[in-house]
Symmetry: C2
């Protein structure tokens, strides 16, 4: 019997690659996505395309409203910074695109859903190399979350050890794209932009677009999606 | 200047006592409640009464739908057990009123809200003595959550240490009621029932009612709320 896993899939490059990676590792994957009040509503459509493409049987979309919390350019009326990507951020400089405690909230839903589905392997595509000091993408955060998860849940205390893994956490976007290319990921079915146009075209100027374009360039490839 | 704190208030005995306790300790308290798809919709009304009573300035009610997740008698069409309260549960026997990862989800929203409000003290009323092995009410869970929270957030990594406290965690319901009585808590403004009637009267038979009634009895008092 195949091992089961929950994969958190947003519709971006990391989660598309994650899906291909887990299928290649012979997991039976259930996909979890979040409709959280993000300005980029095209993400979810891309997540659905990916799910269809990989013939995933269970795709759970959890609705929540992080716009109730606010505090981020991804959910609020705060302008998304353009043409300002800087790999040399100061250690403590956290960009306005950080959504307060977002990964902690998402992982907590994944944990709850894992309890219900009896699946103790949870994967997500977080990585820190290009990611501008988001505190909740760091390896030490992820391992601390995993410890907590094993104390928080019925599965954890009953000996079904919960594993929370971000297999790409120490990779760059270029490394991730390389893995995806080898696994045949169709990146035209992904979107990364923090601020796409009304018809779903990426801006090409926000941090997410710049990191993405750079990742393809480093693989000597053209990004297959449309830009404004 | 008063220290600020976020208190998670459900409208039950523990959170009513917590509110009085924090005000007595001279905290400026902001209250956080959750409308999560619970069958007991009277809880939130009691939380609002308490907030009014203590003249709390900020009461944030976060809407989320744990009924999307399911797996609990508190949110689903699963019958709430009646007349079956048993203090001698086996260690690993978790009741159907456990909501998968509920405290983890709630604390994660509190963490996000703390980031936005710049408040690093988060309190909740969890306690384990009477509470039938809910894994996410145990002291080791809470301290593990606190460690994770300090790695997860801007406040945490920038040196504003986040504190997650459940001051009553090792107390019984009777102990908590005793504290509340000394602080003048009006327990008629609370509700604990897992399955109240349509007009808001408590059933008197679920675990929550039995623990509550027992707690008042041990203080030689009559519970001031109405039962069916």
């Amino acid at each position: 019997m195949k091992k089961k896993a929950i994969a958190m899939v947003s519709g971006g490059i990391d989660s598309a690659t994650l899906l291909a990676y887990l299928i290649d590792k012979n997991y039976e994957v259930e996909v979890l996505s979040f409709e959280y009040g993000q300005k980029n509503t095209f993400e979810l459509e891309r997540a659905k395309d990916l799910v269809k493409n990989y013939e995933i049987k269970v795709h759970k979309i959890i609705k929540l409203s992080l716009d109730q919390i606010g505090g981020s350019a991804l959910t609020d009326n705060i302008e998304v910074p353009k043409n300002s990507y800087n790999k040399n951020y100061d250690d403590k400089d956290i960009p306005v695109t950080y959504v307060p405690a977002r990964n902690t909230i998402f992982l907590s839903y994944a944990l709850a859903w894992g309890e219900v589905r009896k699946i103790n392997n949870i994967f997500f595509g977080a990585h820190i190399v290009d990611y501008s000091n988001y505190p909740d993408c760091r390896p030490e955060y992820i391992s601390s979350y995993e410890k907590m998860a094993n104390l928080a849940t019925e599965m954890g205390i009953n000996g079904n050890r919960i594993s929370i893994e971000a297999p790409f956490v120490k990779m760059s976007k270029a490394d991730i794209i390389k893995i995806g290319i080898n696994l045949g990921v169709d990146y035209s079915k992904t979107i990364s932009c923090y601020d796409p146009s009304a018809d779903g075209k990426s801006c090409g100027m926000c941090d997410a677009c710049i990191i993405r374009l750079d990742g393809f360039a480093k693989n000597n490839m053209r990004d297959p999606i449309e830009y404004q």
